[in-house]
């Protein structure tokens, strides 16, 4: 048990260090960063803002991790967010109940995932091209639903998902925590995760050894679509409106970046959902930190890029071997762990 926890901790160590460094750096520039207080029956402060504002990218990163583990990629998630946000707004304004709205919207997300999955698994189109189709067409579909305008709604039930709170935490945070734990349990408490990794390492070999490759591939894209649907609902509920032009714009890139910062290889195979979630939180911590620091907006993207390059360099195998003498304890513990196994 302790060995598994230590293994897990070792896996997440670079991400935890990066997050820690960013939090310390921001709190040096802006001293009030770590303040937490209770306001309107929920925790309130910059740290909570990071968890809350990061919700859409965290959700997208969960689905993206599984897709990338199969050696795929899903470029359509930003556009699917826009479609689902538009669907939710259109349903609620045309008089459906909140429950019906959520069900229809999630179904639309699943349908989008199914489309991608069939293109990749059945028609054997390369994932980057297959999902590019929906990435380009999706925003058009969303605009058709909203008729080009920002579709606003005032339903308190749907708005609760974006700005309500549960157990002292903002609702989006509760949603991604619960959903993330559920999906992580699903793939790690069963053989599912291993089968997904097998497909990513060698699709043909796994098919030949009896893995239902097409079904699992489709399931991965469906999960990604479902994640995008939840993210889309949160984004729309947050501003009480569906903005087809801007909802989820470029977030597919942030999601892919989260997975990469989380240390999962784009070549497929081994993956960690927890690490990707941490990756998404790191990116949001950078964003929030830049906003609080008060630098002119022209610097936003440059600062973000510089920090991310730094994190990626930290993770690179060459850098690690070059500086491994700095952490002799960890290097020494590895053989003994292997022996214990």
């Amino acid at each position: 048990m302790i060995a598994t926890i230590r293994l897990y901790f070792n896996r997440l160590l670079p991400q935890l260090i990066a997050l820690g460094v960013i939090i310390v750096a921001v709190s040096l520039v802006f001293p009030g960063f770590l303040n937490l207080e209770i306001q309107n029956d929920r925790l309130y402060g910059s740290l909570i803002d990071i968890l809350n504002r990061g919700a859409p990218v965290v959700l997208l990163a969960i689905g993206m991790t599984v897709v990338i583990a199969t050696k795929g990629i899903d470029l359509s998630v930003g556009a699917v967010m826009a479609i689902c946000g538009a669907t939710a707004a259109a349903c609620i304004t045309s008089g459906h109940s909140v429950a019906a709205t959520l069900l229809i919207t999630l179904a639309v997300g699943i349908l989008c995932g199914l489309w991608n999955g069939v293109l990749v698994a059945v028609l054997d189109i390369q994932p980057i091209i297959a999902t590019l189709v929906l990435m380009v067409a999706g925003r058009g579909i969303a605009q058709l639903i909203t008729e080009g305008a920002i579709l606003t709604f005032n339903d308190p039930g749907l708005a609760f998902i974006g700005s309500g709170s549960f157990a002292g935490l903002p609702m989006p945070v509760v949603i991604w925590l619960v959903f993330g734990v559920l999906i992580a349990m699903l793939v790690r408490r069963t053989a599912l995760g291993m089968l997904i990794e097998a497909i990513g390492v060698n699709r043909q070999a796994s098919t030949l050894s009896g893995v239902l490759t097409p079904v699992l591939l489709i399931a991965a894209y469906v999960l990604s679509g479902l994640c995008a649907a939840i993210a889309g609902i949160i984004a729309a509920a947050d501003i009480r409106g569906a903005d087809a032009n801007n909802a989820g714009l470029w977030l597919e890139l942030d999601a892919i970046l989260s997975v990469v910062v989380g240390g999962t290889s784009l070549l497929g195979g081994r993956f960690s959902i927890a690490a990707s979630v941490l990756g998404a939180i790191i990116i949001q911590a950078i964003n929030t930190g830049i906003l609080l620091s008060g630098f002119p907006p022209e610097f936003n993207l440059i600062i973000k890029a510089a920090i991310i390059v730094f994190i990626l360099v930290l993770q690179s195998p060459r850098f690690r071997t070059a500086f491994s003498f700095l952490v002799p304890a960890r290097g020494a513990s590895k053989p003994s762990e292997r022996a214990a196994k």
Partner: protein
């Protein structure tokens, strides 16, 4: 790509056949950029309304954000021998050739909402708003509203580097200069969107002592202001009272916020660019009076005193 082209030419064709069905004395072609935003949709609606009111036969072509489609549309208008052409140019460069063709055919061209980098004698006039002036009007309102009391202002900028963001910032700062009671304490980009407006306002509120240090918000567009208003409410403050809210564009949703007392003022970027254009055209057709090369549209200020709910009802149906 091919499908998009086919669709575009199909819309042009459809627009042409529909247009030629009714006989009118003046035929005007209108090449619109596309439906990139709610404001543009409203501009299209108002242009059609204005044409109908004046008995002008308007041929409408949607370019789907592509210059090549606009050039094609203008060439087809020339071939049909329309009396005048309205263009909302999608980019600034590359118009010389097709504008020369229109000039050779003696068809006056009027630019709407944006200008082009071409010789001024290639078009009749350009009808646009003055972005610097808009920022100025917003700034003047704040100067009057605070009446000399010290006031810390936070600013939500548009997309970094875009001309509305640069000019609306410049105009606002011009209006504030010389009034030392007003200080811009924070300025960040909200990318013209509600989501970013809300997120950036949340960080402003945290950074300025829970918002107690902020007395006014200036947003470069209404959408960011609408997002920021929600952030202010969620922080337990009253937008419109604890923090004054002034923004630009005058989209319908900001009038709802004004009616609820949550926003204070907005400066209109009028979608009625066609009205002044048709007026100039009528004068030109009648006795050949050439209008000035630039017709500036009015940047009207709306406050809570201007019956915001009534304006909301008027604007709601325009397609914003």
């Amino acid at each position: 790509m091919k499908i998009a082209k086919a669709l575009a030419s199909a819309t042009i064709l459809a627009a042409c056949t529909l247009g030629s069905a009714s006989a009118a004395d003046l035929v005007v072609g209108f090449s619109q950029i596309g439906s990139e935003s709610g404001w543009r949709a409203a501009e299209t609606t108002l242009t059609k309304q204005q044409a109908e009111q004046r008995g002008i036969d308007l041929k409408f072509a949607d370019a789907q954000q592509k210059q090549e489609n606009q050039i094609k549309a203008i060439r087809s208008f020339i071939a049909q021998g329309v009396n005048a052409i309205l263009v909302a140019p999608v980019v600034a460069t590359g118009w010389d050739e097709v504008l020369q063709e229109a000039k050779d055919a003696e068809i006056p061209v009027i630019l709407l909402d944006r200008t082009v980098d071409a010789s001024k004698d290639l078009y009749l006039t350009a009808v646009t708003s003055d972005l610097v002036h808009e920022g100025n009007v917003a700034g003047k309102w704040l100067v009057d509203a605070t009446a000399g009391k010290p006031c810390n202002v936070v600013e939500l900028q548009g997309t970094t580097g875009s001309s509305p963001a640069i000019d609306r910032k410049k105009g606002f700062e011009q209006a504030l200069s010389g009034h030392d009671n007003l200080k811009i304490v924070r300025s960040q980009t909200g990318d013209f969107t509600r989501t970013k407006g809300k997120e950036v306002m949340e960080s402003f509120l945290k950074a300025e002592d829970g918002g107690k240090n902020i007395c006014a918000l200036y947003a470069h567009n209404d959408d960011m202001a609408v997002g920021a208003i929600q952030a202010i409410k969620e922080a337990g403050l009253k937008p419109g009272k604890d923090i004054l809210v002034v923004s630009i564009d005058a989209v319908p949703d900001i009038f709802q916020a004004m009616a609820a007392g949550e926003a204070n003022a907005t400066v209109e970027l009028t979608p009625n660019m066609a009205g002044p254009a048709f007026d100039a055209l009528a004068a030109y057709q009648k006795d050949g009076t050439a209008p000035p090369k630039w017709i500036q549209t009015e940047s009207k200020l709306y406050t809570q005193a201007d019956e915001p709910l009534k304006v909301y009802e008027e604007k709601k149906g325009l397609g914003y």
